[in-house]
């Protein structure tokens, strides 16, 4: 009772409440139910609420368990029975003292350092008082400030990763895979360690050029979800204890205070300068600040690492059109927004549109931005004399393909704005409003397979065909995840999903091949767990391509039915079995006489069933209809074989130098001198 905040204590006494405690997590763990506590809490509710006589309620719960779980096997029924009994045995009443006065204040929903809007609006919503907010408190045009998820400390992880700085090789894989951007790395001057908390860790950077600096890998303890993907992806094992890696899960509660102080100190360390890094290398990408953090996605989500990477590489200039689906829910659900800004205030602008028009929505944004730029350039030319010839010429002619060039252009625009403020002409007012359009913006159109393969496909096709410079990221979970696992045209043959209870009988649509058929679309099939290097490379190339780019990103998902901590291993298996071949199709290579299609994975080396047997979406059918499962497995095998052969032959087609269009020749019969 003395650990409770004083206002809670007062309320308990005032209402003469009885207080009961149960360590439901421990009960669930020892009953073999993992993190699932619903049976336990339900039992406690009925045991205490008096809705039914206790004995009758418990009998009814057990009856429901028998009815609901018996088809999953006797072991599951018994496990739930044991959890019910154990819940009752571990339910304790806390004695309420006459005089309680812990003196502990309630933790405010957000700290005092949060910005004004967060204090006045977000905090009220977090406290469950959103309905009490006046309409006038909300943004007039519906535009909410970004960077608000950092104020919502959920503390949902039972255990969090802890860094072993001596063992770590600083490869950056854990940073790359972290779905909630809670593991970050920085390199900084040693003097910045002045005033660091006593437990703050650092190591010598394993970069030749940064050896005199310090490196720190830090975890945000209150934002971590405890998914363990980072630990599973860590390639280092201790020589004396192979279970021990360079990052290991440890209970969160004892570490919370210490690591919170470390995290706060870490946030104050300077961010890396992208101009000093190799942006095509995973090791260097870990040092880039993510502008997407602490989303409400599932623990271990397979989609968010791609979005985070997008924001690390291009977040300061990205405008995101997001289709409805998981990415629109974790991407922009009130009360908080995971998209955020860097210290200069640059970050992604984000909006959600419908399933059926998101690609067009993004195209519209692109056209508007282009039009704004066009008008800004025209105005600038007209005002050139007053702005100054040198600045005008530099603004109009600036290349903006490199980080440094974009930074310089931003500085020029700032200068332009100060100059424009002093010019009286109405055109100067117009240009002042449009000046930012002179800095490069990248339109990213983001969504899941339900959008790209199904409901939004017509629009997607239209946008690809338009040749417009938009970047499309499809987070392919092969099923409608957000609405509960309905079949999409991305669902593979033999997988069980809603609307495909008997296993999907037709193969997955090959969206990549369809997009490649245009010949002017950059296309890549990526899977971070299959090759993180190829993933990073594809993002960089897609951005640089002067036309539409389509990235199909294999995303493991809760709807695949396995513990997502193994998500990266499963992605690797998907690639090795040929289930998800990796490639990049770059139309620009044709001009150099090269085949535009580059296969980035090897021929299938693992039996398909070895990949499939780890996922319940495939094994369900083995349990329910073994013969049909076998039949579909054989067809799925043939899908994989045929697709690989097709890609392999396409990748071997000889392309004549300076060819405008690829000239197909028969495989293995290239002309010889």
């Amino acid at each position: 009772m003395n650990h409770l905040p004083a206002p809670v204590q007062d309320e308990i006494q005032r209402k003469k409440l009885r207080l009961f405690l149960i360590d439901a997590d421990s009960v669930a763990q020892s009953a073999g139910m993992g993190r699932r506590i619903n049976t336990i809490m339900q039992t406690c509710f009925f045991a205490l609420s008096g809705v039914l006589p206790r004995g009758q309620a418990i009998a009814a719960i057990k009856h429901a368990i028998q009815r609901n779980y018996s088809r999953r096997g006797e072991a599951v029924v018994q496990m739930n029975f044991a959890a019910v009994d154990s819940a009752l045995a571990h339910l304790h009443e806390v004695k309420i003292p006459e005089e309680a006065g812990s003196g502990i204040p309630m933790r405010p929903p957000v700290p005092a350092s949060a910005p004004d809007f967060v204090q006045k609006v977000t905090a009220r919503m977090l406290a469950g008082e959103g309905d009490l907010l006046p309409v006038s408190a909300l943004p007039v045009d519906g535009t909410f400030p970004s960077g608000t998820s950092r104020w919502e400390k959920r503390n949902i992880a039972l255990s969090i990763p802890v860094w072993d700085e001596e063992l770590c090789i600083q490869c950056g894989k854990c940073v790359l895979v972290c779905p909630h951007s809670v593991i970050r790395a920085k390199i900084y001057d040693p003097e910045k360690l002045d005033g660091a908390p006593a437990q703050f860790k650092s190591a010598t950077p394993r970069w030749k050029e940064f050896e005199r600096l310090r490196y720190t890998l830090q975890v945000a303890p209150e934002d971590c979800t405890g998914c363990s993907l980072c630990v599973e992806v860590c390639p280092v094992k201790s020589k004396s204890e192979v279970k021990h890696r360079a990052i290991n899960m440890e209970p969160q509660a004892p570490l919370r205070q210490q690591e919170t102080a470390n995290w706060d100190f870490f946030l104050g360390l300077p961010e890396a300068n992208p101009e000093e890094l190799h942006l095509g290398h995973v090791k260097d990408v870990q040092l880039l600040e993510p502008l997407f953090e602490f989303s409400g996605a599932c623990a271990g989500c397979g989609e968010t690492p791609y979005i985070k990477l997008l924001t690390q590489l291009f977040g300061d200039r990205a405008v995101i059109a997001n289709a409805t689906g998981c990415s629109s829910i974790y991407g922009g659900n009130l009360p908080t927004t995971p998209y955020t800004v860097n210290k200069e205030g640059y970050g992604p602008a984000w909006s959600n549109s419908l399933f059926e028009d998101n690609a067009e929505f993004g195209l519209g944004i692109r056209l508007a931005l282009d039009k704004q730029e066009e008008y800004a350039r025209a105005l600038l030319k007209r005002l050139g004399g007053e702005v100054g010839d040198v600045l005008t010429r530099e603004l109009l002619d600036a290349g903006q393909s490199r980080e440094a060039e974009i930074r310089d252009q931003r500085e020029r625009v700032k200068l332009l704005k100060t100059k424009l403020a002093a010019i009286e002409a109405p055109e100067a007012r117009d240009l002042l409003a449009l000046a930012d359009a002179l800095v490069k913006k990248i339109v990213w159109i983001v969504g899941g397979d339900g959008w790209a393969y199904d409901i939004g496909y017509g629009g997607l096709d239209h946008v690809l065909a338009s040749g417009a410079n938009v970047k499309i990221l499809v987070l392919d979970t092969e099923v409608y995840s957000n609405t509960g696992g309905q079949r999409s045209k991305a669902t593979p043959r033999a997988a069980v999903a809603r609307f495909a209870f008997g296993g999907k009988s037709t193969p997955k649509k090959d969206l990549a091949l369809m997009a490649m058929s245009y010949g002017n679309v950059y296309v890549a099939r990526i899977a971070m767990g299959g090759s993180d290097t190829q993933t990073v490379k594809a993002f960089v190339e897609a951005e640089a391509f002067p036309g539409p780019s389509l990235l199909l990103a294999f995303s493991h998902c809760i709807a695949h039915g396995y513990d997502l901590m193994h998500g990266m291993e499963q992605q690797k298996a998907a690639v090795q079995s040929g289930y998800w071949p990796l490639f990049r199709y770059d139309p620009q290579l044709v001009q150099r006489g090269l085949n535009p299609l580059q296969l980035d994975s090897r021929p299938p080396s693992m039996p398909l069933e070895q990949y499939m047997r780890n996922e319940t979406r495939f094994t369900l059918l083995n349990h329910s209809q073994p013969e049909k499962a076998q039949e579909l497995l054989e067809l799925a095998r043939s899908d994989v074989d045929q697709r690989w052969k097709l890609y392999e032959s396409l990748a071997q087609i000889h392309v004549a130098r300076d060819a405008k269009v690829a000239e197909p020749v028969q495989v293995g019969k290239e002309e010889k001198p």
């Binding site: 999953r72 072991a75 829910i329 069980v496 396995y562 329910s624």
Partner: protein, 334 residues
């Protein structure tokens, strides 16, 4: 005409070659082919109580993951009407096998809980099995548990299963006992109708590059027959239960050796996985040919002829043989 028949578990087998538990038995076609190739009986693949439980829990965990925690979708995978997770599919398959062939079909059971052993044994009996083979495989890891405790656990288990079924009961043993003859005798007393020597274990190996543990599946070789022959010869005539060899039977002469040591059945698996089911007939032909050449007219005639029973002090016989072998050994390179 040579009589190959042998009596095992109270059944008259047309010959001593029995197919031991393996994944081959999962397909009815294979079972049919085993009979066609001349197998005298078939032990089905094992029903693993632990596997049933694990599969059940694993499926439950996957189906429940993330459910009822987000208002837009309460579930992510469909919950189907039937999963065939229990022993039902195994039992149905056993019954199908029984209907498909005329030779005896034995169930094989690997349990973990006392209740599980007896419950599943009864189910196997009801499914029509001619006998049950208990596959006892327990890896003790607690340093405070003694060998005697583990042995007693096995004996109790056999007694419980014996009391719950009427069909003959074989027990497949591990070689890891300090005093195998004593253990064999106690199994005999607990009600085992046959002892099958020995279980082979899939021993995990280390992958030094990945610092990981990898599962290996090494098929048996004829040289693995030797400890089995030795122990069958020692036990022959000292216990009531029938004896059978499993592990290392690859040829007709291997089968002959088993019989001479005192076995009633020579069980094969690795040889079939390696050379195909048809290899059963080669083993039988080999045995028949050897018997013809050496003028044996029946298998029963040779069963136990090389057993230690005829030796007054088998332990001294063992030591003498050991010394003879050592003193005769010369380096191959010389």
């Amino acid at each position: 005409m040579i009589d190959l028949s042998s009596n095992y578990l109270g059944m008259k087998l047309k010959n001593p070659v029995v197919v031991s538990a393996s994944p081959l038995q999962k397909h009815l076609d294979n079972i049919r082919r085993m009979e066609d190739a001349g197998a005298a009986a078939i032990v089905m693949h094992s029903l693993f109580e632990e596997q049933i439980e694990l599969e059940s829990r694993e499926l439950n965990r996957s189906l429940d993951e993330g459910t009822e925690s987000f208002a837009e979708s309460l579930h992510y995978l469909p919950d189907l009407e039937r999963y065939n997770l229990g022993p039902e599919s195994y039992l149905e398959h056993l019954a199908d096998a029984k209907r498909t062939v005329a030779i005896p079909i034995m169930g094989s059971l690997n349990g973990v809980s006392p209740g599980g052993w007896t419950r599943y044994a009864r189910m196997i009996e009801q499914a029509g099995a001619d006998a049950i083979e208990l596959n006892t495989y327990y890896v003790p890891t607690d340093p405070d548990v003694t060998g005697a405790t583990i042995e007693q656990m096995y004996f109790d288990l056999v007694a419980q299963v014996r009391a719950s079924v009427r069909i003959p009961l074989a027990v497949k043993l591990s070689p890891m006992f300090s005093s195998l003859p004593n253990v064999a005798k106690q199994f005999d007393r607990s009600g085992a109708d046959a002892l099958v020597l020995f279980n082979r274990f899939y021993q995990p190996d280390f992958d030094l590059e990945a610092l990981d543990i990898v599962q290996t599946l090494e098929l048996s070789h004829s040289y693995e027959l030797l400890p089995r022959l030795n122990w069958i010869a020692i036990l022959f005539g000292r216990i009531h239960a029938d004896l059978a060899v499993t592990g290392g039977v690859h040829t007709g002469t291997d089968a002959v050796k088993c019989m001479m040591a005192g076995a009633r059945a020579a069980m094969v698996t690795s040889a079939l996985l390696e050379r195909g089911i048809g290899h059963i007939s080669s083993i039988l032909d080999g045995a028949r040919k050897w018997m013809e050449e050496h003028e044996y007219s029946s298998v029963t005639e040779m069963q136990g002829c090389m057993a230690r029973r005829s030796v007054i002090d088998p332990a001294a016989f063992e030591r003498a043989n050991y010394m003879k072998v050592l003193s005769s050994y010369t380096f191959k390179s010389r």
